[in-house]
Each structure stands twice: as C-alpha cells, then as structure tokens.
C-alpha cells in the first residue's frame, strides 16, 4: 500500500513539474515571438517614415506642412557647407512653389514626423500573427479582463495602442534626429559610402544619379517608446502580480541625404 501511495505521489509530482515546465516554456516562446514582432514592426515603421517623408517633400503644399523643419535644416546646413546653398536660394526665390525633390534633395522633418509618428505606428502595428483579430489595432488593451486591473503595470485604456501581441504606451512614442554634415574624408563617408581609399574620386548613388558628392547630411534616427508584452498565461500573471512585461524599446538607424 505504501508503495502504491508513493507511486501515485511521484506521478502527481512529475505531472505538476511537467505542467509548470509547459507553462513557462509556452510563456517564454510567447514573449520571444512578441519581442521579435516588436523589432520587425519598428523596423517597418522606420521604412514607413522614410517613404512617407519622401512623398511629403514631393507635394505642392510641402512648405506649409513642414516650414519650421525646412528652415531649421537650411540654417544648419548653410552654416556647414555651400554645396547646398544654390538649392536653398532657388527654392526661396521661387516662393516655395518648387519642392525639394525637384532638386534631388530630401531631409527628415523632425517636428512633422513627431506629430505623425503615432499614425504611422498604428499602421505598422497592423503587422501581427495568429491573433483572433489579425491585422487589427485598437486603442486600449488587448485583454480587457477586469481581473487584470489590479496588476501593477496595467495602464489606462486611453493611453495604449495594442495589437494581438504587444502594447505601446502612446505618450511615450518619440523620434529624435541627430543631423550632421559629413565630408568625403569623414569616417562615416569612408565606412558606408566610399568605394575609394582616397579623399576624391568616390561616387555614390543619390536621388539625382550616381555622382561625386562633396558632402552628405547624415541623420541618426532614434525611435523609442514604452511597451508592455502581456503574459500569455493567467498563472504567470497571478504568480508575478503583473499584467505583462514592461520595458522601453530603443530603435536606432541611419539615413543620409546626398546632394
């Protein structure tokens, strides 16, 4: 009898351990998948920002939409180089009726992007997998179960943008652009663009064709936001006392403009 009882208890312990293992492995896989989706979505957001900017600067009303950013860009670049000055002068002399892309010039309008980043993020977050509402993004929590309201990092619904895998805290979505002018002898130019070891004779692809370029304007783009990846298992939520894993995501990429 004692042997049978021992056997039953052993089986129960093994069953419990296997169940726990299953819970934590599935939670780990879920968190890993959500983190991967977060990376890819932000990468897509960056590409979206670049293509939307290029289209914005080809519009006839471009100056009314980003006059502040253009003026800042002009004053910064004019201080550093004269290669772009003819373009700035021509655009001003024509009363801004010509757009920058007609001169083969683009730039990243920081204020405009900051104001519209939430819209682009909403579109990019439609990228998701396997969820009940595949491709859906909504204001508020993916899981609105009231049982989660007491969890430490459960947030106000109006502050959250969510898809089937992760949630972004809207007020924290931020983009910073660090702009610098780099000549042919700069480290950036040599590392990423130059096919030549000398300071002259290297050509790069620009909007106006493959050409010799004295200077380029380089943007270091940083996108950041706070996120929550909800725990898949209610057991994990109860055990940790939190709704999900919260963190700050930092994305960095480089964009350059040649003239």
């Amino acid at each position: 009898m004692t042997g049978v009882a021992k056997g039953v208890i052993s089986l129960l312990i093994i069953f419990l351990l296997l169940s726990l293992l299953f819970v934590f492995v599935s939670e780990y896989v879920s968190q890993l998948t959500a983190t991967n989706l977060l990376h890819t979505t932000t990468d897509m957001l960056f590409d979206c920002v670049i293509s939307e900017t290029q289209l914005l600067l080809a519009r006839s009303d471009w100056y009314s939409l980003c006059s502040t950013d253009f003026n800042n860009f002009e004053s910064d670049v004019k201080l550093s180089t004269s290669a772009w000055n003819t373009v700035f002068n021509d655009i001003r002399n024509n009363g801004f009726s010509n757009n920058p892309t007609q001169y083969g010039m683009t730039f990243l309008p920081r204020t405009y992007l900051q104001n519209n980043l939430l819209i682009y993020m909403t579109t990019a977050m439609r990228y998701n997998v396997e969820g009940v509402d595949v491709g859906a993004v909504k204001n508020g929590h993916m899981d609105i179960n009231s049982a989660n309201s007491g969890k430490t990092n459960y947030l106000n619904d109006s502050q959250v943008l969510s898809n089937a895998y992760f949630e972004v805290i809207k007020p924290t979505i931020n983009i910073t652009l660090t702009q610098s002018v780099q000549g042919q002898d700069s480290e950036f130019y040599r590392t990423f663009l130059s096919r030549s070891q000398s300071n002259t004779g290297s050509s790069i692809d620009t909007d106006i064709g493959n050409d010799y370029v004295d200077e380029i304007v380089v943007y270091e783009v940083n996108i950041s936001f706070d996120y929550v990846i909800p725990y898949l298992n209610y057991f994990v939520r109860e055990a940790t006392g939190t709704y999900g894993r919260r963190g700050t995501y930092q994305y960095r990429n480089v964009y350059f403009v040649a003239r």
Partner: protein, 152 residues
C-alpha cells in the same frame, strides 16, 4: 510443468519502462522540434513580411529566394503573379490563403495582406512495438500591412 517464477512479470515491467522512456523521449523531441521550427520559421517569415510591406505585390526574386524554388511560374500582365506558388513542389512547405499574396493590383498604404504559411512536420512516436508517424501541419497565419503609397 516448468515454472517461470517472476520472469514474465520482470519482462513485462522492463517492456513497460522501456515504452515509457521511449514515448516520453518522443514527446520531448516532438515538442522541442515544434518550438525550434516555430521560432525559426517565424524569424524567416518576418524577413519575408518586411519585404512584403514595401511591395505592391510579391516580386518574383523575393518569392523564389524565400521558397528556395526556381520553378515558380511567374505570370506577366495578369492579375495573379504566380499560378503555382501553392503547388510548386520540392521543399514540402507551402502557402494557403494566397489571394491577397499573389494579387498584383489593389495594394496601397494601410492595406493588409493575409496569408498562411504551412510547414508539415513528421512526428514520430517510438515504442518497442514499432514507430508510429503522424504528420502535423504548423500553420503561420500572417497579416502584413502595406507601408508604401503606390497611388493617390
């Protein structure tokens, strides 16, 4: 009459234990394989999705690179880009729900393409009585937004 004593009982216990070990090992291998494949395919699909998000429709070079197949039949001047992306043989995996994926027209900023990628895997259950096989389809249902404007 010859008495076998405890021998049959001992043999039975050994067989049961062997089966328990074999079945447990099979389940562990199957689960590990599932998790590994799930993560690997997911990672690759994300690269594919990122390309897809910037295209109006799936381009031949991307499809061939991703599927590892050169026998995809590319159709020019027709609404459907491929006629055999589902049935093109070789690697085992395939697409279903491909209407959005191969449709040449109609995508623009914000539109979402849905498709399903299926990877069949053979699950083997090992016992002392033989190996039992069952094919399980790992399905990856995706929704990819178009993030470029192709028309106004």
């Amino acid at each position: 009459m010859l008495s076998l004593g405890k021998l049959p009982w001992t043999i039975l216990k050994i067989i049961v234990k062997l089966n328990l070990i074999a079945v447990t090992a099979s389940i562990v291998v199957a689960l590990t394989l599932n998790v590994f494949l799930y993560q690997t395919v997911n990672s690759n699909l994300q690269l594919f999705d990122k390309s897809l998000s910037s295209m109006n429709y799936i381009e031949p070079s991307v499809a061939k690179l991703f599927m590892g197949r050169t026998n995809l039949s590319y159709k020019t001047g027709e609404n459907a880009v491929f006629d055999n992306i589902v049935s093109a043989g070789g690697s085992g995996f395939y697409f279903t729900n491909t209407t959005d994926l191969i449709n040449r027209n109609g995508r623009n900023y914000g539109d979402v393409v849905s498709y399903t990628f299926v990877v069949p895997i053979d699950i083997k259950l090992c016992t002392t009585f033989g190996v039992y096989e069952h094919t399980v389809n790992l399905s990856f249902r995706r929704a990819v937004p178009c993030l470029r404007r192709f028309k106004d």
